[in-house]
Amino acid sequence: MLMLHCPFCDEYVEETELQAGGEAHLKRFGPGSSDDEFHDYLFTRENPKGVHFELWRHINGCGKWFIAARCTVTLEVFGTYPANCTEPPQWIKDKISEKRPGWTWREFAG
């Protein structure tokens, strides 16, 4: 059972306090998008063995959504940050690159 840092409460909270929201940083496609774009947006999710970005809601706490950057293999958590951004903040990217040399944003490797 994971423990994640809620960036709003500034506390480490157990998974029982959280709701999982799946992959973070999806780009929404609405009316006018192609069938392929819309299909990918709806159904195609990354399933990386390694660095991943996930939405979590502190549902039994402050109710806010945040994003956790973590490694699906080692369960290492690189950091959490508010969900109001379209890509991870630079400090998270730097931290991941430091721990997983060669890793780059959007390649879901490492």
């Binding site: 059972m1 994971l2 423990m3 929404r28 009316p31 490694c71 080692t74 369960l75 969900a83 109001n84």
Partner: protein
Amino acid sequence: MSTRLAKQGRLIDRSKQVEFTFNGTTLKGYEGDTLASALLANDQMLVGRSFKYHRPRGIVASGAEEPNALVGLGSNRRYEPNQRATTTELFAGLEAKSQNHWPSLEFDVGEINSKLFARFLPAGFYYKMFIHPKPFWKHVYEPFIRKSAGLGAAPDKELVDADTYEHFYFFTDVLVIGGGVAGLQAAKTAAATGAKVLVLEEKSFWGGRAPVDGGEIEGLAAEDWIAKTLEELGAMDNVTLRDRCMGAGVYDHGYVLGYERLTDHAPEAGGPRHRLWRIRATQVVTATGAIERPLSFAGNDVPGVMLAASMRDYIVNWGVMPGQKVVIATNNDDAYRTALAVHAAGGEVVRVVDARENGGGKLADEVRALGIRVENGRAIAKVKDGKRVTKVALCAQNGEGGAREEIEADAVAMSGGWSPVVHLWSHCGGKLNWDAANAHFAPDPDRAPTSHDGKPFVVTAGSASGPLGLGAVMADAAAAGAKAAEAAGRPAQAVAEIATNDVAEAQMEAVWFMPAKADIQLRMKSWLDYQNDVKVSDVQLAAREGYESVEHTKRYTTLGMATDQGKLSNINGLAVLADSLNSEIPQVGTTTFRPPYHPISMGAIGGEARGEVFQPLRRTPMHDWHEANGADFEPVGHWRRPYAFVRGGESVHDAVNREVRNTRENLGLLDASTLGKLVVKGPDAGKFLDMMYTNMMSNLKIGKCRYGLMCSENGFLMDDGVVARIDEDTWLCHTTTGGAERIHGHMEEWLQTEWYDWKVYVTNVTEQLAQVAVVGPNARKVLEKLNAQAGGGMDVSKEALPFMEWRDGEIGGFKARAYRISFSGELSYEIAVSASEGQAFWNALYEAGKEFGVMPYGTEALHILRAEKGFIMIGDETDGTVIPQDLNLQWALSKKKEDFLGKRAHTRSHMADPDRWKLVGLETVDGSVLPDGAYAVGNGVNANGQKNTIGRVTSTYYSANLGRGIAMGLVKHGPKRMGEIIEFPGTDGTIYKAKIVDPVFYDKEGEKQNV
């Protein structure tokens, strides 16, 4: 013969005799006994029958790894099957029953499985035999298997467990699992740094095997060192010690479950029976010891054959001698300790057969010096079948089992080497290395389970790491304690050497078959997995049939799949598989170790959450009134809503019909407080709601209401409700009863993760308001009467408060908000008051309504009233695959809006498919009620030969107002097939015929709600 010794037994109190029963016979034991040691003391060698062949089985081990001695414990509300006799502490009045036998333990009909059919019950038997012919499965095979196989009987479902259970939370720097000498040493070292330390020991006593195996630590006998260390640890404020508490599982980020058995040994003590410890540990030390492996020789399952160290345990710990003439078979030096123990207790060791050509070391010399015959390079060819050991045939290890020498014996002690208990290390990803010299998998400290910081959080201590000698164990444990404390943020410390006296042992040798080239007759009697009845020949057969992966072989043969999860069998099974595949053991690999280490009770998992406190209940402000007025409650989410208000002498069905008629004819009151109420407010609230709802909400006028639909991004209908515009930047959104929290979360998700720059707040005010639907032709009259009584109030006339509008004001002196909305088709006001005034308002309505024929109505009447009007219900007409178009709700899909959730999805080809099933009304030809969920069948059959389905019933009721059954359903091309009669086969064999009609059955023009 197995007997109680006159002396010895460090754990029993001979002054306290206790009586217990086994299969109804009263037997005697002592306080401190386990059920297993007490049974052996009473010469009860036979304790059960095996799973598949019903072979007689006896006690093999002395701890949690025991595969055979599973019994049913207790009776009635305290009965529990499959309890291990070896981990059951004896108490006065204990009732145990053996399992897997019919008609009796001594005489079992199923044993013919073994004698006659063994060759027909090979690995994969179930897969092979029961495919054809099909009817045989149901009428012959299955009843036979259910009768003859399986473990203990499940408790009677009508009997509620008499005991209570609880959860307990604990946070610690260092958690030490295992209270043997290694665990105690690790705890001592860690605690010396000031770290908070919790030590769990699954047994009722501390110190593990050390007192049985002998040796000295820091100049003290093991037993004295343990007592001294326990005293030291007990005096430290930063240390918590818990016995009878097993470390059950290690999970992500230092989460560990402990399973404490508080009153299993004292059922009358009161308090919870089991306690589940939910522990967060910064570092975990697993000092879980090692488990001895059996040897694979023919008849290694005959009662009286047991693990060598376990035999020693019974002698030293409980003063029980499992046999008078003992044969010992080994491939390592440790088993010689058993020879010494048997001899010291006055038993006769008739032979030690050591499979190693060069035999043992100092311990072997010591045994020989006692005059005991020790033979090197020898093996057991076979133990004669029976209900106990009588004869043992010996042969050369390096042969096929010929040239046997038969000797008389009544017990066999076997040792195939030791495997570290790596389960807890492995649960959360710790990796293993194959140690060829010691023939076991040991934890690889470089590939430990990692925590949130990417750093290891589990360290093994003592023989759980691999080493077996006392000196190595103590050194490893001290280092582990220091490492864990440091990793938990305490200062590093130098670990002092711990003086021990150790006997040097000769190297063990791997022996996977005994004898090495045993023929098929012997291999068919050489058991690997006692509990699931898997033999050497089964694993070899699986390999021949192409099962190369250990995970597949496991499932095909069921090796290691029993309740002991292969604690004794896995390594031997892997070795046999590797041998059969001409591969190496590390290449074959292990199966996955999953928690719990040892089965834990369902009661402990449930904890306090049962009965009334199983889950929180939500009650409306008027709940007590409902309860006092005949409410038959139904659960709706966590709410309890009245299904109907039943009066004396009538059935629930009668009550529903009465409520339906009365609401149409006079006046009905519905407690609608459970309806979700979300306030959406802010400069961008209108824009936001336009995205949330399929129809336009931003242009709703202040004071007006609009029915809205919500779709998910993939277009499916997820909720509906009436939205009211409160002021310039405030809307109030009603959701379904079950949807309030879900829709609130849905809105928050979009607001926080997608449109986070929009200025909108959403607040759930469901519980702040009590809401009453005042429904029926007399609805206005009762409100006007209340206002008259109060000397004024809100004008509720048609002109002042038209249909689909709302007003704030006072009704009967209550501050209220009234909505002219209707889910019944009648003249209807939904009136919200402060939750604290809900009951008083309800009382006022009820009193004033008496002259107008008021009656409360429940959810079933609500459903029927809406179905008569053809209104859809989320969860009935929708199921997560239904889109608004299916329900003819195109009018609610805005064409003006560029975007809303679901809009893009509705243009996908499957969503726009003209063949989608669409909503229609259904009227049975004979007026009967269609079965709920029934499918309509059309012409032709599908690929599986089943009739094609063309629709299904979504809602079906008896309408008291119409005097007939009415239903709604989704039917292919339904709206174009009005008047057509289609067939719904019921599960009762009846074919129901129904005509496709308009779904609005009552007041088609909608005049009644608009008066």
